[in-house]
Point group: C2
Chain length 661, copies 2
């Protein structure tokens, strides 16, 4: 006999073999109809798969509203897309087809070069398959048999994967629906019908078989699907808006940054205008660091491999790191993947007393990680980036105040750039897991303290996620919502009981009791990485930076050559007052000069003609509101200064209402 | 018949075989007596070595005043020192014994552990050898015979060197004087007598045979010698003074920087106080960059090896570089040894017009070079350093103005840190050599332009050194004299006709004629490297930084606990006014607190007691001049602000007169 416990705690016994569908049906036919997939003891399972015949299980029936069900449906939709492609073109070699955060893709090797023009054809074929209501069927076969099967189907990539990637598996898992068969661990919805009509093929791109640039290039077809047509429409609108704001496109148009294949993929060159934005942010951050009594340090960009063996980052994370630098004299160095070991060496450079704590060491620390080449993109997915990093070494008693300080500092900084829509995720440990270092009592205290601080601070949409702590301590992540509703994880504050421990660096301070004690470490980076943050800012502002961040704040435009001298005088005055200003004194028509400045998203244009000269004024043109009429130069500067000091965010979108700040 | 031409252009013929000594003697016996060594056609030659019997030679007779003669005498002195050591201890194995910039050393393998106590003994033995007036004799022997000879003498290191290092040489060169014989290319003075009495053994240190850490450790005995006793005395005084100012010692005492073996040799960790100094310098430099219309950029610390193959730095300089990072996917990266290729990529990121030029790209660029482990020391000889780097891309016509700008900027910056004793070395090409790129006409124009600029600017002690240009263009180096008379090469300005050329990066701009032209590149770094510069500054100021650079400018000291509140208020006011200030409110005695602040070289101590509180004043104590009496807080701040803004350098040494600024 099988006893099934439901999420509400109710229980039901079954004496014959049943599937999750049967169980749902036994409760109500409506529930069975709405069911998409099930979760048994925390693991996803196909709706029609048999449950154990005896014992106890906890069962969740997942319907369209559950995110897990959406992901399973998208996986099924990927199979349907692959089937449609195979029906439409001959000789298609199947590669892999997983889901992503917002949809799915499938990689193919085929002679026909897929393009947007093919998408309606594929979608229409998919519609037919969905309407045919084909059930998804699970099969398990010996590996040898699977190889023979795919040989027969002339699916060479599948054969190769079975012979190499899956060489250690005696049995392999398949899914079939209609004539389509694929190696697949699942899970899937019960029938193609449940995919519905809210799906869309989005784009096609190149990808290598198993990410290996030495192998053939495949075609990767991206798509997405929702249970609800409105959700699909909203997603497509967001994609459309995101495309317009793509920081890679705007970054190139405005000359903010460049990535050059000769320098290397994922390695950002900050062009003068982008570097100006970064410099302004760095100066602002430095001011915050002073205000919060941090001390600045500088450390090298490499360290001996031994340093990372002590920290435990080598060889444990070597997959995502640049390879070591091997010297002839036997020395081995690693390009630093994080700054903490170097800051720890600075903490250890002298004996610390409890009176010295907290020690707060800050650095704009450039770190390097070897992201997979397919993952690298613009400024947001890079191989080298600079963190607004700091490490705090403090006593147990100071943890609460320091944590609060880090949260407040992050809030201030996000507010300063107009990103006031965010939520905080507290990552706590899974109490049943043994992967965490440090004793349970300290964890309990730390988690309770963090939660208390966050609640006292009335952080918006605070969530606690169990099992999401780092293995070395609990943490708080800031998830920011941008202008078009996308979420980005930015700042992080993490407690660390691991690196200070005797197993790692064995940090100490001499307490009031004159005995050595172990400090707690806090890792924190309010913006995360400057590359990623500026990339997100470019998209958030669609390149139209607020006055305090704009690389060129003001441009002086002359009506005619007669006013050049006066124009240059105005430019000089503004520069002397600390503004970032340029002048356009060419003999072009004023309209053309304004258009150019407008395209470059310069916040203010100061038009100067002979009348302006006589009046000691300028005719101000606002990037957003257009002509503001003549204003005395001194008043102008006061206005600009006030706007800079308030760090005011004024965007065209605000007037339209789609942007919330 | 041999025709000898002298430096003054006069000529003399000799029909029989003569040595340089004979020639000198034929002119005047006094000249022969003063002669130390000779130079024939630009090559050094022993005074008694025979000249060719026929043909023409240019001959310089070198006397004690010539630097080359001093170097040769020191080499002879090293042999004498080795001889003395062999006389004093049994079983001495000789390694190598070259001269250095300021003296010489010799490496020995011997059981006795040499120490300072042995120096007088060795010196006294050397005095005997010198008095014995032993002539230096040159010998040339077949390598096989040389091996047998050293085997007989049981000199195993020499045997090994003959069998490995010199394996390709059929004949090898020796020098002998008295019983001492060594493998040596020379040259030497004619007799030990000319060494005189102005020599000194300085120190002993460990060194590896052939620099190989896997081989046995040797003892390296350092010494120096001068022709003039006064020069030796001055040198010893300078060494003594330098020892007191050693930036490695002061840097540790004041907590400015640390080097940690786990991070790596030659990799500097800037501790908070050192980082504060660097930060102040960087802010100052940024101000200068804005004033001179530079644009700031940021670039990654690595680049693909291909980038350095194009620049020609790889594999050409690979001996002094960190090894490449070899990735599994076939990509190879180099830790950047210089910033120019990255800045060139930024120049090339868009099409440039003559109207855009000059483009001036600046960056605090961290670069990495693998100095030999024996050469690495403190902050001045490191493996990673940050240059105050910039590259200017300009037209031929702009070279003069840009060069002048770079020189002026360097002058301003050196003046700001009180280093106003410097000379400029212009490095021009050797017209007879073919190692230079670019055509002769451009070189002539460039050299003439640089010389004209330097002369117009009345640069102090301007020297032109032929053959000292980089292979890619002429350059100007700033050689600074510090407080105790030592010279340091700091800033450099270099023209470059190589990297922009079609053979390298093929840089272009579109000229007024609408056709592509090649820009000229200028590499310039006014301070050179921040690590080295700050290291030198520490020694220059003996750690007592002027007010504008001091990491902690002011310390508030309370007379008793009663005045703590007032002290904290003063501290807060000063901090709000932008000063770097700390407070010492401990219940220690005032005298102890003053002593501590004085040892930490804090420029100003503000003592506060109850009387001060009542009067709204502080009792100012100057690090140099001591008690200045009570001063109103506002007046104090005005005084400090004026001193900071003037970047005034006030040192105790100034009053003593030994420091010239």
């Amino acid at each position: 006999m099988l006893t099934v416990t439901f999420p509400d705690g109710s229980r039901k016994d079954f004496s014959s073999s049943v599937s999750s569908y049967d169980v749902a049906h036994s409760i109500s036919p409506a529930l069975a109809k709405a069911a998409m997939v099930a979760e048994v003891d925390g693991e996803l399972i196909d709706l029609h798969a048999p449950l154990p015949e005896r014992g106890e299980v906890v069962l969740r029936i997942l319907a369209k509203k559950d995110p897990e069900a959406l992901d399973v449906m998208r996986h099924s939709c990927a199979h349907v897309m692959a089937q449609a492609v195979m029906r439409l073109w001959d000789g298609v070699q199947l590669a892999f087809g997983p889901t992503t955060a917002n949809g799915f893709y499938y990689d193919f090797d085929l002679d026909h070069s897929l393009s947007e023009e093919d998408f309606p054809l594929i979608e229409s074929e998919m519609t037919k398959i969905i309407a045919a209501d084909e059930p998804f069927e699970w099969l398990l076969k010996p590996r040898d048999e699977a190889i023979e099967l795919f040989r027969g189907l002339d699916q060479q990539l599948k054969v190769e994967h079975l012979e190499t990637g899956l060489a250690d598996e005696p049995m392999v898992s398949f899914y079939r629906h209609g004539e389509f068969l694929d190696l697949c661990r699942g899970k899937h919805i019960s029938s193609t019908r449940h995919i519905g009509k809210a799906f869309k093929i989005l784009s096609v791109a190149g990808a290598y078989w198993k990410g290996d640039a030495k192998r053939q290039q495949l075609q990767r077809l991206y798509g997405t699907a929702f249970f609800d047509a409105k959700e699909l429409a909203e997603h497509l609108r967001q994609l459309e808006e995101a495309k317009k704001r793509d920081h890679r496109v705007i970054g190139k148009q405005l000359g903010l940054f460049a990535v050059n294949p000769t320098v290397g993929s994922g390695l950002v060159l900050w062009l003068p205008k982008g570097a100006a934005i970064r410099g302004i942010l760095e100066d602002y951050i430095k001011g915050e660091l002073r205000r919060w009594n941090y001390e600045t340090v500088y450390t090298p960009h490499i360290g001996r491999v031994e340093l990372y063996e002590i920290s435990g980052h080598y060889p444990y994370y070597s997959d995502s790191q640049f390879a070591p630098i091997d010297m002839d004299d036997g020395e081995r160095y690693l390009l630093k993947p994080m700054n903490c070991p170097h800051h720890i060496m600075i903490y250890q450079s002298k004996l610390r007393s409890y009176r010295d704590l907290p020690v707060r060491l800050a650095e704009f620390g450039s770190v390097y990680r070897y992201e997979q080449s397919g993952e690298v993109s613009g400024m947001t997915r890079v191989r080298g980036f600079t963190q607004d990093d700091a490490h705090i070494f403090c006593t147990e008693d100071q943890v609460t105040d320091e944590f609060r300080g880090c949260i407040e500092m992050t809030q201030n900084m996000l507010a300063a750039v107009g990103m006031d829509q965010y939520r905080v995720r507290l990552g706590f440990r899974d109490r049943d897991s043994d992967k965490y270092v440090g004793n349970a009592e300290i964890w309990d205290r730390a988690e309770a303290a963090l939660q208390k601080v966050c609640e006292e601070m009335h952080l918006p949409d605070l969530t606690i996620e169990l099992g999401e702590a780092a293995f070395y301590g609990p943490k708080a992540d800031f998830v920011v919502t941008d202008c078009i509703g996308r979420e980005w994880q930015l700042g992080t504050v993490q407690l660390d009981y691991n690196l200070p421990s005797a197993m790692r660096f064995g940090l100490e301070y001499i307490g009031a009791d004159n005995r050595p004690h172990e400090p707690v470490m806090i890792h924190r980076a309010p913006l995360g990485s400057l590359e990623r943050f500026v990339g997100i800012l470019i998209e958030h502002f669609a390149g139209a930076f607020p006055l305090w961040l704009a690389p060129e704040q003001i441009r002086v435009l002359t009506v005619s050559e007669k006013s050049e001298e006066y124009g240059r005088q105005v430019e000089k005055e503004l520069r002397a007052a600390g503004f970032r200003v340029a002048g356009d004194y060419r003999s072009q028509k004023l309209g053309a000069k304004i258009r150019e400045a407008q395209l470059e998203l310069i916040p203010y244009m100061l038009v100067v003609g002979e009348k302006d000269r006589e009046a000691g004024s300028v005719t101000v043109r606002d990037r957003i509101d257009g002509d503001l009429g003549p204003i005395k130069v001194a008043d102008c500067m006061a206005k600009f200064r006030e706007e800079v000091e308030a760090k005011r965010v004024r965007t065209a979108a605000k007037r339209g209402g789609s942007c919330s700040h």
